[in-house]
């Protein structure tokens, strides 16, 4: 887990100014952790496991543009088939 920190600016402005630095958290996931994340999202948004979703997507049973939820989960998969 890494934090991306831009150089701090004048702290005098403190609470009176909007941020001018980046302290949003960056989470690094291993391939296995990505798989688990995809599985979690597929269950949450589509009511199926990540593996089932990937199989049905690759078989053409589900179109990537079927719904916002489908696209959301599909784009978290590595789209690796040959470009058309």
């Amino acid at each position: 887990m890494v934090k991306e920190l831009a150089p701090a600016v004048d702290s005098f402005q403190g609470a009176f100014a909007m941020a001018t630095r980046t302290d949003n958290e960056i989470r690094e996931l291993s391939p296995e952790e990505w798989d688990r994340l995809v599985d979690e999202k597929a269950r949450k948004y589509l009511g199926m496991s990540g593996a089932e979703f990937e199989r049905r997507l690759n078989a053409g049973e589900i179109d990537i543009d079927d719904s916002p939820a489908v696209t959301r989960v599909a784009m978290m998969l590595p789209l690796h088939a040959t470009p058309k």
């Binding site: 991306e4 831009a6 100014a17 909007m18 941020a19 001018t20 630095r21 980046t22 302290d23 949003n24 958290e25 960056i26 989470r27 690094e28 996931l29 291993s30 391939p31 952790e33 990505w34 994340l37 999202k41 997507l57 690759n58 078989a59 053409g60 179109d63 990537i64 543009d65 916002p68 696209t71 959301r72 989960v73 599909a74 784009m75 978290m76 590595p78 789209l79 690796h80 088939a81 040959t82 470009p83 058309k84």
Partner: protein, 177 residues
């Protein structure tokens, strides 16, 4: 001008840093990234674990997932976006979604957008139509969220960051004919 690095990992670090800096204009949500090496499969970067991130101001949320590859050319290692999902929702309904998924089973391989308009065109719904868009950068999505949809910027220098993000882009992908 795209940034060049000495190693694949350095290239990804640069890319993720630039992306998170840009996103920090509108959200404090975390970003998830995987993959720091050259690979046949694209790596992925998602905002908020792939969930819509709520923006401050209007009832807007933002979806961001990018697929990227790391490769080496004459100038060094760099990251190239090879697919994306950028979507803005209002009151939990999709307003507009920019998609580019050039690989996979879909025949729609070119960058396109969907609008969340509840309009029927004969027996088709406008929201399902793939409207050609050309390749769109995340900085344009952040800009439209702030400048046109009323999301409150979270930092003073958001205009500069958007400008800088746009200036770092490589040429857009070739148009298929």
């Amino acid at each position: 001008m795209p940034h060049r690095s000495r190693t694949p990992a350095e290239a990804v670090e640069h890319y993720r840093g630039q992306t998170v800096r840009l996103l920090s204009c509108v959200t404090t949500a975390h970003t998830t990234v995987g993959g720091y090496h050259a690979s046949d499969l694209p790596h992925r970067l998602s905002l908020s674990d792939g969930d819509p991130a709520r923006l401050r101001g209007e009832q807007l949320t933002l979806d961001v997932t990018e697929q990227f590859r790391v490769f080496e050319d004459a100038g060094g290692w760099r990251v190239e976006i090879v697919g994306y999902l950028y979507a803005l929702e209002y009151e939990d309904r999709e307003l507009v979604a920019y998609h580019w998924h050039p690989r996979g089973e879909s025949p729609i391989t070119w960058p396109h957008l969907h609008v969340g308009a509840d309009i029927r065109v004969g027996d088709r719904w406008l929201g399902k139509i793939h409207l050609p868009s050309g390749a769109v950068g995340l900085e344009r999505i952040v800009a439209v969220a702030i400048a046109e949809l009323g999301a409150e910027p979270l930092r003073d220098d958001w205009e500069r960051l958007i400008r800088e993000a746009g200036a770092q882009k490589a040429d857009p992908p070739p148009v298929e004919r």
